[in-house]
Symmetry: C2
Subunit: 193 residues, 2 copies
Amino acid sequence: MTEYEKLIAHFEKYVSLSKDEKERLISSFNLIKVKKRQFIVQPNFVAKHRYFVLKGAFRTYVVSNEGEEHTIQFAIEDWWISDYNSYIFQQPATMFVVALENSTVLQIDYTSEQKLKSSNHTFETIFRMMAERSTAFMQRRIITNLTKSAEERYNEFIEKYPSITNRVPQYTLASYLGFTTEFLSRLRSRLRK
Amino acid sequence: MTEYEKLIAHFEKYVSLSKDEKERLISSFNLIKVKKRQFIVQPNFVAKHRYFVLKGAFRTYVVSNEGEEHTIQFAIEDWWISDYNSYIFQQPATMFVVALENSTVLQIDYTSEQKLKSSNHTFETIFRMMAERSTAFMQRRIITNLTKSAEERYNEFIEKYPSITNRVPQYTLASYLGFTTEFLSRLRSRLRK
DNA sequence: CGTCTATTTGAATGTACTCAAAAGCGGTGG
DNA sequence: CCACCGCTTTTGAGTACATTCAAATAGACG
């Protein structure tokens, strides 16, 4: 399966596509390689692209007034990533998106995406469904954060995303779950027994 | 402005509509009245509708394993409400949606919405934009919850949504912001000085 | 191997919670 | 129109969960 076929396969989870549509999609995305620790989105710059991860791992985070990093999202193979608030509204980003590993992504720029959506009803549908799914995903996270204890959130995460757990630094996971890295360390040592 | 004109005005914030499109939209929505304390969505039942609030106020909440209520969303005039996870995927709801006041809403059922979207590119665009906006909204909430203290979250809320603050019971606001009603009471008395 | 970054451990502290009871408020019926 | 009932908010005292700051240890990478 080529890199672009992975993207098409991903879209075809939502809708079926004609040969012509597949070609138009493919020509709208660029394949790029991103080295570990490299930033693809930075605060104060407008996020010009949306990224589909083919290989590797990324992390979106914000830095609070107190200087603490808070992880907003992880992305591994088959996930999308960007600062969506910045990308969707084409406003300056407030987040960092950084590669956690040497990675390969397919990127689409804002203007190309707009053209795809406005020119073709099916493409519009795809992006509508993607947005709906991410709304549902975020709502689930809000609910988890409101209703579960730190320990429950950790257990839920490692069960749901075992592939992410052992692939990202602990402090990024702690900051995603909403507590400190020291606390996660203690939690893990407690759970080991 | 009639009830339906409010809905059209809302949609025209996203796109402009032809006379014919306006009529199709209008005929897809039903006007209903909901009494205070009445539920329009309940756990285990599929949320068949999406609701646009014309007058009144609603609250979406979940009940945790420990029996505590956690407010997920408020909706007043011009806001949409439902259990979206249930509505979008047509799966059993996990949330309650209840009227906080005697209210008037415009409702659309799932099948009608699907027909609107599939038959007309512009309608698809509207719902895509709505979903994108709600993704951005939820992400902002996640960030606030991760990065701000209880007091900051409260201050941010009353500044952003003064019209909601004085209209809903305190315990619903506390549970939205992620702390207890006792804590909010103490916080308010502290801030009064 | 040495340096830089990430994780672990310790001790003291604070923020927000729990449980219990009192006070306040709003709606309803006599 | 007042009295009562139920629900919401306030106040108090004790407690727990998670944080902070500091230092030690472990691991990754050139």
